[in-house]
């Protein structure tokens, strides 16, 4: 692959390495192919330190436009502005409102979280005990997503700024959030967390998996425990095992963002901005790629579409 | 030495125990200005431990030390140095990554606010190096020196302290005759200048030559004292061992049989330009004499496949042998009792049992690779019995055996393999008279049982006493061969130092390969 030679370079930078981002990569690549652009997709494995040096080196290479998912918006304003000075900067997936990014492309995680909460309610109309599984709580998006679930289950008002610390139980009048277990992307640990929950709370009503790999881990554990179907599952994202679970009625449903669209739209917008066309930027500087709830009835069609996007 | 004089250093009722061992019990020791006190005792008698305590390296469990009549704090090297007590350890203790000068002044560097004064070090090192007659550049790394040179650096280091009490723990065990003479000259000189010396050695001849007084330890207890006039071989031995041991060992020569070991133009990696040819016959004890660094160890190690020979032909009982690894040599019927007993001879941490069976496990194995514990036990008990190895039990870690008994374990390990040829490198280095005699007898029994024996020794005494035939090495080649009849110290020394020009031609060196 020859980079440069005059042709403008663009980059799509993620906040880590995850199948979720593989979908976004497909979207970005598809758009790049259609527009005939040179787009590099970079996934930092070493956290904020590596994301910083990646962005620096992209600027060094004279990249014209960068779409980035900040690991921690509040503290990366300086870095993002440095990027904005030297290149077109837009954010995706997780926004940095305080920075000079031109536009944000993504989902409203708090709302998405509330959608997931609704799935739980459908699964447990009578109410019950709920355990939440998630990779990390650092990122705004994961924090908001979890908060959305909790607030929905407790029928609280719409307030993204709320935060319940992860320890300890949260009791509502119908639903009880037993706790939130993190696994820092360690799949074995993610499964162990579920197993231990089943040991500790045999009467847990619904397990909520908020990162792409959590629902599969939940299903694995349930299957081995012979509790598949008995304990309800509310999912997030579109892991194959999750979709299969919905199809087999083991999962109530899942809330899918549209990472493919993050990638696709990001590249489109970058192209437009590079061409000096600012009409693509809405007034609120927020291009919403809404999340959707996928249930048994819609899963097949969604899955087919997904496969075609992944070229499978 | 007038006993009414004020002793320079006095140790009272020193006690020291190690896990499972009582090294010293209520030991007393006095040394006066301007005398050489010889400290005698069998392996494990406690000599080194006592000296380490005097030098502050180890802390006694009980007892006091007085310098010039004043009690000094124990267990501190600095304090000992302040009192002018310097110790040359039994084992080499040098930082091989530092220069000669840096080692000589280690811990006593001349400095200003921690800033080292290299000039002073260079100058002063030169002085002490000259004292011991070592013409090397003080800025050379110690790692590049030979063992003999390292030993001399140790001595120079101790001299640089300008000690009032200088302790030498078996300093000559790795020195050649010439270097030893040099050392004795220095010692005599220091004595003249009123320095007190404590001298430890298992070579009684040296002690007779140098000592003004002898103190003997046995099993960690004072066993007695001899004044200058009372010092005699037999007297010393009686105090050490508690029985008589004949003065010099005299071999009762047997009649050698067929050739068991034959070397033709063997070249070792250490001396690639030289080649060695020799034969050893069954029942024969052949001595290999030479100065330190003559390349004797390298020759044995080459034969044994430790550092495989570069060229040449080796035959054991006529069968050709190409040792690429000790395993080949062992299978070929060779056994090596190495120079460095503690590192190469025994697995210190493991039991007498495991050490004795180590070499024969493979031969006695069951169904391919299973341990044959019956055979192991049989060998262990037999060797302990036949070699009279002194140990509390089969499971005792070899670390806690005395030097002599460790050496017996090494020999026992090979005896179990009943090899055709024994190669022994300094088999009695650092071993006490009693044990020495037993080792000698062992070597004779081995020979009598039809094995061929080739042994390296830097102790002329034992070469003269034990060898049927002596080969002399110099700078990697054989400079001559002496039959029992022709044996004499002078002849050996001339050959060892290069020898008459003719001698070197004799043994096919200088073949340009």
């Amino acid at each position: 692959q020859k980079s440069g030679g005059g042709a403008q370079q663009f980059a799509f930078v993620t906040n880590g390495v995850d199948p979720f981002w593989t979908l976004a990569e497909q979207g970005a690549k598809a758009a790049a192919a259609r527009e005939g652009m040179d787009v590099k997709v970079l996934m930092p494995a070493g956290g904020a330190v590596e994301q910083k040096s990646m962005l620096e080196d992209l600027l060094t290479r004279g990249t014209a436009g960068i779409a980035v998912s900040p690991i921690d918006a509040a503290n990366q304003v300086g870095l993002l502005n440095e990027v904005a000075e030297r290149a077109i900067l837009i954010t995706h997936d997780s926004d940095a409102p305080a920075s000079n990014r031109q536009v944000f492309i993504g989902v409203n995680n708090y709302d998405a979280g509330r959608m997931c909460g609704q799935l739980v309610k459908e699964a447990l109309p009578q109410g019950g005990a709920v355990m939440i599984f998630i990779g990390r709580l650092e990122q705004d998006n994961s924090r908001l997503r979890r908060q959305g679930v909790i607030d929905e289950l407790l029928d609280r008002s719409h307030d993204p700024s709320r935060f319940d610390p992860p320890g300890g139980e949260i009791k509502g009048d119908r639903y009880t959030i037993l706790g939130t277990l993190t696994d820092n992307f360690d799949r074995a640990l993610a499964k162990a967390n579920v197993e231990d929950t089943l040991s500790r709370f045999p009467d847990v009503g619904c397990l909520v998996g908020l990162f792409a790999y959590n629902p599969p881990a939940i299903l694995e554990a349930l299957e081995q425990a012979g509790k598949i179907g008995k304990v309800k599952v509310a999912a997030f994202d579109e892991a194959e095992r999750t979709l299969q679970g919905i199809r087999d009625g083991q999962v109530q449903g899942t809330v899918v963002q549209n990472p493919y669209m993050y990638g696709f739209r990001s590249v489109e917008v970058l192209k437009a901005l590079a061409a000096g066309d600012r009409s693509v930027i809405p007034a609120d500087k927020f291009i919403n790629v809404p999340a959707r709830q996928i249930r048994k009835d819609t899963v097949d069609e969604f899955w087919k579409d997904l496969k075609s996007k992944l070229g499978k | 030495m007038a006993d009414n004089a004020q002793p320079r250093l006095v140790a009272n009722g020193i006690c020291k125990s190690f896990p499972g061992v009582r090294a010293l019990h209520e030991v007393n020791l006095r040394v006066f200005p301007g005398e050489i006190l010889a400290l005698l005792g069998e392996n494990g008698a406690g000599k080194s431990t006592l000296m380490k305590i005097l030098a502050g390296v180890q802390k006694p469990d009980a007892g006091t030390i007085e310098a010039e009549g004043v009690v000094i704090p124990v267990g501190s090297v600095q304090e000992a140095l302040r009192q002018g007590i310097a110790l040359i350890h039994q084992e080499l203790n040098l930082a091989t990554n530092l220069t000669v000068g840096a080692n000589i002044f280690l811990g006593r560097e001349p400095h200003r606010y921690g800033w080292i004064d290299e000039k002073a070090i260079a100058a002063e090192s030169r002085r002490v190096l000259d004292l011991v007659g070592l013409e090397i550049d003080p800025s050379r790394e110690v790692g590049d020196l030979t063992l003999g040179q390292m030993q001399l650096v140790e001595i120079a280091k101790a001299l640089s302290v300008n000690a009032r009490v200088l302790i030498l723990d078996e300093p000559t065990s790795s020195l050649s005759a010439r270097e030893t003479d040099r050392l004795f000259a220095v010692m005599g000189d220091l004595r003249e200048r009123g320095v007190s010396l404590i001298y430890i050695s298992h070579r009684l001849a040296e002690i007779q030559r140098m000592a003004d007084r002898v103190t003997v330890l046995r099993d960690g207890l004072n066993a007695g004292e001899l004044s200058r006039t009372e010092i005699s071989h037999d007297a010393m031995v009686r105090l050490m061992v508690g029985r008589d041991v004949s003065r010099v060992y005299q071999r009762t020569a047997g009649t050698p049989g067929a050739t068991v070991l034959e070397l033709k133009e063997v070249r070792t990696p250490a001396n690639p330009s030289q080649s060695v040819s020799l034969q050893v016959r069954a029942g024969e004890i052949v001595g290999l004499a030479g100065l330190i660094g003559a390349g004797r160890t390298e020759l044995l190690e080459a034969l044994f496949g430790v550092t495989p020979p570069l060229a040449g032909e080796i035959r054991v009982e006529g069968k050709p042998l190409q040792p690429q690894h000790p395993r080949d040599a062992v299978r070929g019927g060779l056994a090596l009792v190495p120079e460095d007993r503690k590192k190469q001879g025994v697995v210190l941490a493991e039991s007498v049992r495991r050490n004795l069976s180590l070499a024969s496990l493979e031969r006695d194995r069951l169904r391919g690779f299973l341990l044959n514990e019956a055979a192991e036990s049989e060998i262990t008990s037999r060797m302990i019995r036949e070699l009279r190895i002194k140990t509390p039990g089969e499971e005792q870690p070899v670390r806690f055996l005395s030097g002599g008994n460790q050496q017996k374990v090494v020999i026992g390990k090979w005896l179990a393999m009943s090899p055709r040829v024994f190669l022994l490198d300094e088999p009695t280095r650092g071993i006490d008279v009693g044990a020495k005699q037993e080792i000698y007898q062992l070597m004779e029994t081995l020979a009598a049982s039809g094995a061929g024996i080739l042994f390296v020794s830097s102790e002329l005494e034992e070469i003269l006493g034990l060898a049927d035939r002596v080969l002399v090495m110099h700078e990697g080649r054989l400079t001559g061969e002496l039959s029992r009849g022709e044996l004499s110290e002078e002849r050996i020394m001339t050959l060892a130092t290069g020898g008459p020009a003719g001698a070197s031609r004799a043994n096919g060196s200088d073949h340009q390969a």
Binding site: V17, D18, G167, R200, A217, Q244 | R327, K343, E362, R365
Partner: protein, 328 residues
């Protein structure tokens, strides 16, 4: 043997403590439920295989930091090839068992022939195998979906014993591995050689033992077992991500071995000890999840403290014994 008693007692204490706390807190059989015990045993089995492997290398006086990355290579590689690339599973499995052998051989040769330091060789291994895995998978997660149920039985199957409890299959695999290694160490001449050279390579070599070969064997077995563990891990979890699958597992394996009485100076180590060490760490993790889920993010700290406490106690005990002997 002595060396094991300490860790065994510690394990027992932690085990009972967890039992009491977990089941008392909830008034039900939580920790002692057949289900939880199965999970616990399965985890012990998977990590135990790693611990036993590395203990052999540690006995030679070496170390293997590449375990975690070998777990990653195999754990990701198998589903990636079998599902992603559609290779026939038998071929893939063969590769999964052979490749680690080659890796171990490489480590062994570099350590013995080139006399490189094990720490460095295997540190490079740690970097290389993970990097390569991330490279050929393009960082994509690999998993079995709902396929290969039969094969996955090896990792998540169980032999029903009585109602509600069965012996996890991996535990049987661990049993076989442990038995073989224990026999190897204590009943074969090669085990003797390994221990001897661990104490003094030179002395062993001077006794005619081919120490280099033995060391190579140790590295080969170690990497092989890492590969086996990696296979079982992915069969159990069903999906693996190149960037973090097996991260830090080498540290837990080494910690378990040391807790179990292996000295990093070489020459000592027992299979039973390693198993006890592994069990201790897994029971601790279980305890945190069952009893103190709120402190789950301090898991590492707790494990670290317990390991430290273990080695300190062990050291103090040894000294007490020594002082006793000296006294007598």
């Amino acid at each position: 043997m002595k060396r094991i008693i300490g860790i065994a007692v510690l394990l027992l204490v932690v085990y009972l403590a967890t039992w009491i706390m977990a089941d008392a807190f909830s008034g039900r059989a939580v920790f002692m439920s057949g289900y939880n015990q199965e999970n616990l045993l399965r985890r012990i089995a998977l990590y135990g295989i790693l611990g036993i492997g590395v203990s052999l290398v540690i006995i030679t006086g070496g170390i293997d930091l590449s375990l975690g990355s070998v777990v990653c290579l195999v754990g990701v590689g198998v589903p990636w090839l079998a599902v992603g690339q559609g290779w026939p599973m038998p071929v893939v499995l063969l590769l999964a068992l052979v490749l680690p052998l080659a890796i171990g051989l490489g480590h062994g040769l570099l350590v013995t022939r080139l006399r490189l330091q094990p720490f460095i060789v295997t540190l490079c291994g740690l970097l290389i195998y993970r990097g390569v895995t991330r490279g050929f998978t393009q960082d994509q997660t690999a998993g079995f979906g709902n396929g290969f149920k039969a094969l996955r039985w090896l990792a998540n199957g169980e032999i029903p014993l009585f109602s509600g409890f069965g012996i996890p299959v991996p535990l049987l695999i661990l049993g076989v591995v442990a038995a073989l290694v224990a026999v190897f160490l204590n009943r074969t001449i090669y085990g003797r050689y390994l221990l001897a050279l661990g104490n003094s390579e030179e002395a062993a070599r001077f006794s005619g033992i081919q120490t280099d070969r033995m060391v190579i064997v140790a590295y080969v077995i170690c990497s092989f077992l890492a590969g086996l563990a990696g296979l079982l891990f992915v069969l159990d979890v069903n999906l693996a991500q190149p960037v973090d699958f097996g991260n830090f597992y080498e540290l837990f394996a080494i910690a378990a071995a040391v807790l179990g009485g292996c000295s990093l100076r070489g020459g000592t180590g027992t299979v039973l000890g390693v198993l006890a060490g592994t069990a201790l760490i897994q029971v601790l993790r279980n305890m945190i999840n069952l009893v103190f889920p709120a402190y789950q993010n301090m898991e590492y700290a707790v494990i670290g403290l317990v390991i430290l406490a273990g080695v300190v106690a062990d050291e103090l005990a040894k000294r007490a014994v020594a002082r006793q002997k000296a006294g007598s």
